[in-house]
């Protein structure tokens, strides 16, 4: 238990089966054209970085996970999220 201020990131991505034209365009028209053939796929998403007052990193993560569900930070019909404490 270390009360304090934590930095929590939420990464919102389209579900794997939902096409991601932005990622496809970055891959095909920038990365592959630039000669980086080692890159076999790109998915674009959205990153939200939140500063959270909490009792522990686990609490901070749980708060952000809950708000992401409650306030529909993502649309579960089309998106997945990852929530991670980075600082």
């Amino acid at each position: 238990m270390t009360p304090g201020s934590y930095v929590v990131e939420v990464i919102v991505e389209n579900k794997p089966l939902a096409r991601d034209p932005e990622g496809e365009t970055i891959h095909q028209n920038l990365i592959l054209k630039g000669g980086y053939n080692q890159v076999t796929g790109v998915r674009a998403g959205k990153l939200l970085r939140m500063k959270v007052e909490a009792n522990s990193p686990e609490d901070a993560r749980a708060i952000v996970r809950k708000l992401s569900d409650d306030l529909r930070i993502y649309n579960p019909s089309a998106h997945t999220i990852q929530v991670r404490v980075v600082g």
């Binding site: 529909r72 930070i73 089309a78």
Partner: protein, 237 residues
């Protein structure tokens, strides 16, 4: 006498168009209501107009979906009242969970502004009851986030429940890839809830309801508002 509210959000810009069609063309008693002023379910039908809302930050419609006005709209839908979402209004209804699925960025990554053909898939909604099943309506779209999405395996369920109201089609009435302007799954342009009283669509019927706005003076969009009038006032309307 049925009374309609067009709900105005910060960024709505097709609100006055919808108001004009409702008031002056189909002669519905209609108020333009700022979303924060909608505190009671005092109307008989609600229209969420097109445009933007809250900069469409996070996702189109996502922030407006948390407006207290949506609580009133939800209450109205539970009572069976007709609710229509056009473009951003559709996105808001989806984000508020009143309609299924999600509306994502166009597959072309471009803002698309063009005329489309819509095939009427069901006439059971208050907004299509004066149309004929299979009828094609020419109605324009103008959006950047119009790609209707839900998991592929959910499409048959939507179909079974008669929740798919419009599909983009070609001149032969076929739902082809070429006729799909934004990459929507299964060419879906508009859907309704299970009960059928809440409908949302990306195209703008209010832009195809008076002859001067159309390419060939047709008014195909009117049938949506005429249907709503019949729902509010009975067959004589």
């Amino acid at each position: 006498m049925g009374k309609v509210a067009v709900i105005q959000y910060p960024g709505s810009n097709c609100d006055l168009d919808a108001l004009e069609i409702l008031r002056d063309v189909v002669k519905a008693k209609t108020d333009l209501v700022w979303h924060k002023d909608l505190t009671h379910d005092d109307y008989d039908a609600y229209v969420l107009p097109g445009g933007f809302s809250y900069g469409d930050y996070l996702r189109a419609g996502a922030i407006a979906a948390t407006s207290p006005s949506l609580r009133i709209v939800k209450e109205a839908t539970e009572g069976g009242k007709p609710v229509l979402g056009i473009c951003n209004g559709f996105q808001i209804l989806v984000e508020a969970g009143l309609l299924p699925g999600a509306v994502l960025r166009n597959s072309s990554l471009r803002f698309v502004c063009t005329w489309t053909r819509l095939r009427v898939e069901t006439t059971r909604t208050p907004f299509t009851k004066r149309a004929n099943a299979g009828q094609v309506l020419e109605i324009p779209i103008a959006h950047n986030e119009g790609r209707y999405y839900l998991d592929k395996e959910q499409v048959p369920e939507l179909e079974r429940n008669q929740q798919i109201v419009f599909r983009y089609v070609n001149e032969k009435k076929e739902a082809t890839e070429d006729a799909n302007p934004n990459g929507s799954i299964d060419n879906i342009a508009g859907v309704c809830n299970q009960k059928g009283n809440v409908m949302g669509l990306m195209p703008h019927p209010e832009r195809a309801s008076i002859p001067v706005l159309s390419l060939d003076s047709q008014t195909d969009g009117r049938v949506i508002f005429d249907s709503m009038m019949r729902t509010l006032h009975g067959p004589g309307a």
